[in-house]
């Protein structure tokens, strides 16, 4: 199903999204990848405050290429989400509602998604030029010294993603591969 959605978003929105839904996101999302996640975890361990509000928000696992003059951002596609698995359950328990990345997640992350009624989306990996067209603004809001790995606040319009893991724990990657294998078996291929 095709859906349009605002970000940040509510638990009610999360509950209505199902694995396989094609969603266009408009609003604010934050970027963070390996180094920013590590630093956020260290901050929490030391009893500090995170530089961004997590409640209802989406983290996009992305480190862009540099923007040319007059443009908001360079190429801006998703990175592999599983590298953030170690840090993700804690952030979900603190209110994070959505993640955009690509690739499989761990069982621990899936359990945390269900526990917190959150959603894991994928954007098309390797389509960074196309995806950059849906990003209207980009501003570094924390960890500037990390370069491409800094935390950025993005204003996006109709940013195209697919629901991979929904709030009930359904996983599109498993469903999609099984469906193709089943049809191959049935047709005797």
């Amino acid at each position: 199903m095709e859906r349009h959605m605002q970000a940040p978003f509510s638990e009610q929105d999360a509950l209505s999204l199902k694995a396989g839904d094609y969603v266009y996101i408009t609003g604010t999302v934050y970027t963070a990848r390996d180094a920013a996640h590590k630093r956020m975890q260290e901050t929490l361990a030391a009893g500090g405050e995170l530089p961004i509000e997590l409640t209802g928000n989406i983290i996009y696992y992305m480190g862009p290429s540099p923007a040319r003059e007059g443009r908001p951002i360079g190429s801006a596609g998703p990175t592999t989400a599983s590298r953030m698995d170690k840090y993700t359950p804690q952030l979900l328990d603190l209110g994070l509602k959505g993640m955009i990345g690509k690739g499989k997640r761990s069982e621990e992350v899936k359990a945390a998604i269900v526990r917190n009624k959150a959603v894991y989306f994928a954007a098309v990996g390797g389509a960074g030029a196309l995806l950059s067209k849906s990003i209207l603004q980009s501003e570094v809001v924390a960890y500037d010294d990390l370069g491409t790995e800094a935390i950025r606040r993005l204003e996006v319009k109709d940013f195209p993603v697919i629901v991979i893991i929904d709030s009930e724990g359904n996983d599109l990657y498993e469903m999609a591969a099984n469906a193709v294998c089943d049809s191959a078996e049935n047709s005797g291929v």
């Binding site: 540099p66 960074g128 191959a184």
Partner: protein, 280 residues
């Protein structure tokens, strides 16, 4: 003896880093277009169509095809009649990478130490492989490698008794484990034989062979074709969202090996299988 000024190496490598990150080679371009026509899943076709749009936008708007513009892997095949002048070859190569990544608006994705992890801010150093050949020419291949797919690559030290079936199973295991993480449709580079490091290097170099060119060794060619068919029957599909296009090609290179071993290296590359080749 032919003298080549190192400034010429720097200049070419700079241009090649940029070229490889903004445009795919014609064989890759053609394979992706063809996949869009033959893909069986509607969602798979939609993803492949987005990849076409992506390539078009990259070319027209000067945006790198993918934000992961890679670590620069460079093959230098140097004729033994060549003499370089004006510095140290390795420095000249890294200077070309530095200029290419800074001036080409490419992402700086290299950390100076694997454990301390501070970004070098100019994407150096490159990973450079040298080969000495006959003649007085230099053949340069610049192959920026993204790490979504690099992380899913494997080396298996099989036993001779595992045989060809063992090799095929190793490749299929690596591809299935990679799944959506490696940004399919992928290109699979395989190195069979040699030693631990030789098979990995062969697998890397296999990725630079055109995807429409099969091995000249009959049994290897058959294995390439059989594996491609089996990989596409896994159902992983474009973006890992299901479909009949999981790989565009399987390129296999082989080398003699030890009586006790059967090393297999599998280097997986995403659909942005980049390389630029020039002969000086």
């Amino acid at each position: 003896m032919r003298t080549i000024p190192l400034s010429e190496i720097t200049k070419n490598i700079k241009e090649m880093c940029i070229e490889a990150n903004y445009t795919l080679t014609p064989d890759m371009d053609c394979a992706l277009k063809h996949a869009k026509e033959t893909e069986k899943s509607p969602l798979g076709r939609q993803i492949l169509s987005q990849l076409q749009d992506n390539l078009q936008i990259a070319g027209e708007d000067d945006i790198p095809i993918c934000q992961d513009t890679g670590m620069a892997v460079i093959f230098m095949e140097i004729g033994q009649e060549v003499h370089f002048e004006g510095g140290v070859l390795e420095d000249a190569i890294n200077e070309g990478v530095r200029q290419g990544y800074v001036e080409g608006y490419l992402r700086k994705s290299v950390v100076g130490d694997p454990c301390i992890r501070e970004n070098t801010k100019d994407n150096t150093p490159a990973v450079i492989h040298y080969e000495i050949k006959a003649g007085d020419q230099v053949r340069i291949t610049v192959a920026p490698k993204g790490f979504g797919s690099e992380n899913m690559s494997r080396v298996f030290m099989l036993k001779p008794a595992d045989g060809m079936e063992g090799v095929k199973n190793a490749v299929l295991t690596a591809v299935k484990d990679a799944g959506p993480n490696a940004c399919p449709p992928m290109v699979v580079g395989v190195g069979i034989g040699g030693t631990f490091e030789k098979c990995a290097l062969m697998a890397k170099k296999a990725l630079t062979r055109p995807v429409d060119e099969r091995s000249e060794i009959p049994y290897v060619r058959e294995m390439e074709e059989e594996l491609l068919q089996k990989i596409n029957a896994t159902g992983i599909g474009p973006g890992g969202l299901g479909g009949s296009t999981t790989a565009l090609a399987v390129n296999i290179n082989t080398y003699p090996t030890h009586i006790a071993g059967l090393p297999v290296g599998i280097n997986i590359c995403c659909h942005v299988n980049r390389h630029s080749v020039r002969t000086i």
